[in-house]
Each structure stands twice: as C-alpha cells, then as structure tokens.
Symmetry: C2
Subunit: 334 residues, 2 copies
Amino acid sequence: MRSFDKEKYMEMGKIVQSKKGELEAIAAKIYADGVKSIFFTGVGGTTAEFTSVKKVVETRTQLPVYCVNAAELMLEGNTQLNKDSIVITGSKSGDTKETVAVAKWCRERGIKVAVITKENTPLCEQADYLCTMDTTGVENTYLSFYYIVLKLLNLRGEFDEYDEFAAAMENVHESLVKVKEKFGPVAAAIAKKTYKEPYQIWIGSGSIWGDIYMFTMCILEEMQWKRTKAVSSPEFFHGTLELVDEDTQVFLVKGVDSCRPLDERVEKFLNEYAEKKVIIDLADYKLDGVDDKFADIVSPMVAETILTGCLAAHVEHHTGHSLDFRRYYRQFDY
Amino acid sequence: MRSFDKEKYMEMGKIVQSKKGELEAIAAKIYADGVKSIFFTGVGGTTAEFTSVKKVVETRTQLPVYCVNAAELMLEGNTQLNKDSIVITGSKSGDTKETVAVAKWCRERGIKVAVITKENTPLCEQADYLCTMDTTGVENTYLSFYYIVLKLLNLRGEFDEYDEFAAAMENVHESLVKVKEKFGPVAAAIAKKTYKEPYQIWIGSGSIWGDIYMFTMCILEEMQWKRTKAVSSPEFFHGTLELVDEDTQVFLVKGVDSCRPLDERVEKFLNEYAEKKVIIDLADYKLDGVDDKFADIVSPMVAETILTGCLAAHVEHHTGHSLDFRRYYRQFDY
C-alpha cells in the first residue's frame, strides 16, 4: 500500500491501547460527577470526528448529546451547557486556537472539560480530565474517544456490551490493516480514474456522515485543492441531485448502520442517472472479530482507514499535489 | 425589480398576518401541554429553514431544541424525543414524502405534531395542531413559525419582548420591500458579474447559516445546476480556504448577530487573498421599524428576501436557465 508503514501503524495502535485504562478512568470521573449532558466541541476535523461520535453516542444514551463548533459556542453560548455538563474536546497539535480558547471559556464558567491531545501543549493546561497522546490516524482518535464515552455509557447502564466491544478492539488494528490491504487496489483504481476531476460530490449518511464531511473538506479541499460538495444521503434528493449529469463525478459511501436504506436510495438513483460514479460499500470492509451490532461504532474507523488513511495517498500519487502543503492554513494568523 | 409583483407580495404578507392569531393559539396549546423539548424536522429546504429557526429559538429558551432530518429520524430514532416533546414541521406542497411520513411516525408514538402547510394535503391529516396557508416567500415561512415558537417562549417567560416583536412585524412586508428595492441593483450587478461561474463558495454563520445552505442547495444547485460549496464562517478556515485563488468565486454574507466577528474574520481573509469575491453585508439591509435586538430573528427573513427572493431571479435572467425546471426532482419516485 502507498505511503503505509505497517510497523508504525501497529505502534500507534499500541499507544492507544496503552491509554485505555487512563481513558476509562476519565469516564469513571465524569460518571462520578453525575454528568447530565455531553458537549463535543472543536473545529474543522475535530468537529467532523465528533459529528460521527455524537451519532454513535446519542442513539445509546438518555443523556442529551451536543456537537457544537468551538468558535460559535463562545459567541452564542448555549442554554443547555452548565455545570452538570461535560465538555469533550481534542486537538492533534494541542494548539488549535479556538479549541484552546473554548476549553478555557468553559472552565471559566465552572464547566468541566475532558481533553485528549498532545503532551506539553496549550490545550493540556485547559483540561480537568486529560489524556495525552501523540498518534496519527483518525481511527485512533475515534477509538480513544470511544474508550471515554462508551465506558461512560456502560457505567450508566446504557451499553452493557462495553467489555465485549473493548475486547474486540484489542486486535482491531490487525483487522484495520486487513481492510486497508483489501481496499488498496480499489483505492489505486479510484484515484487513477478520478484524480483529474476538479469537482466531486461525496454522499454518505449515519455514523459516517462526519467522515464524508471530513474527507471532502480536510483532505480533498485542504490538502488537494479539489472542489467538493459533501451532502448527506437524505438531503441529496433535495437539491444536489440536479447536478448529476454525464460530466459530474459522484462518490457514494454506503454505510452499514440504520441509515443504510437512505444510501441504497441514492445508489439506485446513481445507477440510473450518473455516468461518473464511484460506490464504496462498507459492507465489503467489515472488521474481523467485530460483531455486526457494533457496525455503526466502528464504521467511522473503517471509513477513515480507507479514505483519509489510504485513498488520500493514492490521489496524491496521481495529482502530484503534496498532502503536506498549505498555502494559507497555519501560514499566518487570521 | 425582476420577477417581483409587489401587490402579490403584500397580499402574501396579509395572509400570514391573518393567521397570526391561529398560530399563537397553537403556541398556547403547546404551552398548556407542558412541552419539555422542541423538535424541528423536515427535509431539504424545510430543514434549512429550521436550522435558522433553531438558532433563534435555542439561544432564548431553557428547553432543548433539536433540528433533525425527517428520513434519518425515522430510521435512527432519538432518545430525547418523547411524549413531552413537540414536533414542528411544515411543507409548502403538503405532500413531501418524508415529512408526511415522519409526522405519521411521531403520532403513532404518541408525540404531538404541529404543522404549517397547504390546505387539503396529506400532511394536514398528520397534524395535532394545524395551520393551513398557501404562501410563497421563505420570509413568510419564517414569520409563520416565529408566531408559534416565539409566542411559546413568551408564554414560558423567556421572550418578554414578544408583543413588541409582533407589533414590529405588522408592517414588516413594507420594510422587506424597501430592502428588496435597495438590493435590486446590487443583485443585478452580482448576477451579471458572476452568472457564468460554474462553481461558487458561499459563506455565512449564525442565524442565517440555514439560508446559506438553502440558497446554495435549493436554488443554485436545484434550480440553476450550479456547483456550490456552502461552508460556515468558522469552518471555512479548516479546509475550504485552501481553494481560494484567482479563479474561484467566493460569496460571503455578513450577518448582524453574535457570530458577526466570525464573518469579519472571513472578510479580512477574502480581502487579502480572494480576487473574485462578493460580500453582502446584512447591516446594509436593516428593516425599518425593527429594533436591533431582534436582528438575529429577522436576519433569515432578510437573507431570504434578498437571495431567494431577488438574486435568484437576476441569476435566472442572465443564465437563461429557468428556475422552474427540474430534470429529476419530483419527476419520478425515488
């Protein structure tokens, strides 16, 4: 596989697993605090990740769960956010401006903040509950947050399968590599066929909607300067469908959660009317050793492994446009 | 102004005003029911409208307020939705498939549904609280829902200014026409300058974010077959900004609510780096007779009046592409 270092990947997995106890301990503290609502907050990629995590959590808990953009939260406030809330945030770099600011803003209001980020960074100083980690791979971000939030649900009696889930996660990186290996040739073919497309519509739903948003905005737009439209499977039929013609490149990622019928409806439409289409079905990329009842939980991990963690490198190979280059982002203050 | 019939417009306004008492009576019934949460639901344009209404409501009430896509709600359920919730929905045509289905789905679960729609349509049959109306203009949709939800907040002691607001709304259509008239030449110039752009980035935030989503998807994509990217002002800086170059057409609609600093940040960036840009500042289109403290409430009405209700017709004039034509939507079942 292109740009893939299996040894390093497995090492990252070990780092996350080594933090499991620490993350579960954070869950225990949040539970002991008697939390009454969960707020995920961040910006950009982090918001996208939390969009997916929110879906996974909110369908299983009686707690209200919110996902709010950090910059907006500080300006608008939120009447549901109070001292009984837990704010959960993270940042790979640990210095994302709005994320550091929102954590500080919450704590100034007596609201506790749980953070996963890199050691010795500004965000660490704004955490009530902190776990430091320096990993790559969005699937590891997901797993880390799951060890907090799904454990919390378990303590609340809302996710009895937690131990079974956690046991399945012990070898999940082996399974993720297998999925990557299976998707590799598919990614190579997709990239070769579509890399010149200056505009791409990406469609998905359910627990991977956040990943569709992420891949289009944080990878294709930010790192490949490709024009994109991300639209959810149900919303596709209320506007964007009219763009489908013989020239327009459309991608559909079919999920394996309760929203799958909405993806199938899009697939039927695309098969009828779209000439340039790529349909990726997550049913073809199930993780060994993970029960189907956890499908919606692990789907975002799988989606990231095959898109951000695999397809991106193949697109880069064909476009020659480095994934590392930015002309604006972090090049100056804004 | 292009495609604008003032007499008809004022007539529509009278229809909405004539329904005020009926809409407030729905609020009183919801209040008497002891509502504990508000769910806005619908699809496409209706979801977009509710995205804006939700912002207006949630910043003023202690009730949790949700906005969910109708198709997703039926498949995923929602743990916060129960017999103490009120579900609010609407449909211009009264036969939008998912909207009719979700109302039925809610009522089967003992959850009350408040509806604004057209007389003698399938959606009417699925309403606990119904107000029928056959109006055009999204600003009228907003005002109609405001007469329910802001009155409800008033009854709850959360919006003491309701009577002042309602009094200001009595002549709001005159003020909206003035705004339209002021924006007319601006719209003509914008349309002439940008109508050939095959791809447009649209940016906004706060209470008009739903309108940015709406105008790009339901007007430019659905009715003009233009490729678009709608991105909120805070999220713009986390991916989409990298697309800005000398060829890319960018639109920013600056709002006048608490999120305005986020729009100003985008404006600063665009002034530095974007060659093809259109910046529309809602501060230039304030409604006569409406106090600034209601700015976030009336902003979606203003945004729709100048975009969907004015700019769209000017774009149509230049592209020659009829706003009425669809190649797929409502042409067949999906």
